[in-house]
Symmetry: C2
Subunit: 141 residues, 2 copies
DNA sequence: AAGAATTCCTATCATTTTACTTGGGATTAG
DNA sequence: CTAATCCCAAGTAAAATGATAGGAATTCTT
C-alpha cells in the first residue's frame, strides 16, 4: 500500500517546477540534482507527465521543462494518476473501468475498497501545487 | 497504489470468519472455497493473522479458525496492517518508524504523504467487521 | 489403536513489477 | 560548430507477488 517511486519522484519534480514557475525552462539535471534522484529515471517520468499535458518542454540548449498550467490548476491527484495509473485499492474499484468479480453485487469487501478510494481521492484531489507552495513559504520563514 | 492480494484475500477471509462467528472452528478449506482463493495461499495469510492475535486456531480434525475477538472489536485497519505491513504512501511517513530522508524538515511532499496516510487511516480504522456484517445483512434482505 | 481431518511449517518457483541503467539520436541556443 | 538539452528504446538486476509442494504435528472419531 505504498506509492512507487514514480509517484513520489514525480510529485517532487512537479513541485520543483512549481517553485521555479515563471523562470523559463528548467533543465532536468538541475531538478534531478536538487531532488536527488537519477536524472535518466526522472526523464522517463517527466516524459509521461509531458504526454499527459501537465508539463511543457523546450528542446535544445537552454531548454528544459515547465508547468503547462498554473500551480493552482494542478492537483496532486492529477500527477499521481498519470504516474501510478488508475487509482483504487482493488481491481474492482479502479477508477478507470473496474474489473468486476463474479459476485460484485454481493461483495462486502468491495464496499470497503470504495470507501478507501474515496478517502484517498478526497485528499489528493484537493491539494494543488499552489497549496504546496504556500506550505513551503511558511516553512522557509 | 493498490493493495496486494494479501490484504484483499485476508479481509475476505476475516469477513467470512465474522459471518460464522460463534459457530466454532471454521476449516480453512471451506473459507477458501467460499471466497474462491487458493487454500494453500490463504493458509499463509491466516498464519500471519494468527501470529498477530486476530484469529485463533484449533488443530486436528474438526479444527479450524475463529476470530480471536468480537467482530465489533476488529477493524479493517487491524487486518490490513498485519498483512500489508505498516501503512503509508512513502517511507518517510510509515507508521512503524519512518525512514527519514536528509531534508525531512523541509520536505513538502512529506506533508502530502502524511495527509494521504491520515485519509486512509481514518477510513480503515473506523470500519469494523461488525459494520461489514451489518452491510451484509442489508444486502441480503 | 487406526485413520481421517486439519492445522502448521518450510521450501521452492514462475511471473510480474520496480527502479533503475545504458546508449544513442534529435534539436537548438550561442 | 558545438555544447546543452530533450527524446526514445532496450536491457536488467532485484524485489514482490501469488502461488505450489510436501510433509509433520495434532486431535477427533470410530
Amino acid at each position: 500500500m505504498k506509492l512507487s517511486t514514480k509517484g513520489r519522484y514525480g510529485l517532487k519534480a512537479m513541485f520543483d517546477l512549481a517553485i521555479h514557475d515563471g523562470e523559463g525552462p528548467i533543465p532536468l539535471n538541475s531538478i534531478a540534482e536538487r531532488q536527488r534522484v537519477s536524472e535518466h529515471y526522472l526523464e522517463q517520468l517527466v516524459a509521461e507527465l509531458r504526454k499527459s499535458g501537465l508539463v511543457k518542454s523546450v528542446r535544445g540548449a537552454q531548454g528544459g521543462y515547465m508547468l503547462a498550467h498554473k500551480p493552482a490548476e494542478i492537483t496532486v491527484g492529477d500527477i499521481i494518476r498519470v504516474l501510478e495509473g488508475p487509482l483504487g485499492p482493488s481491481d474492482c474499484v479502479l477508477e478507470d473501468g473496474p474489473v468486476l468479480c463474479d459476485n460484485a453485487d454481493h461483495c462486502i469487501t468491495k464496499i470497503v475498497w470504495e470507501k478507501i478510494q474515496v478517502g484517498i481521492s478526497s485528499v489528493i484531489d484537493t491539494i494543488t501545487l499552489q497549496d504546496m507552495l504556500e506550505d513551503y513559504k511558511k516553512i522557509e520563514n
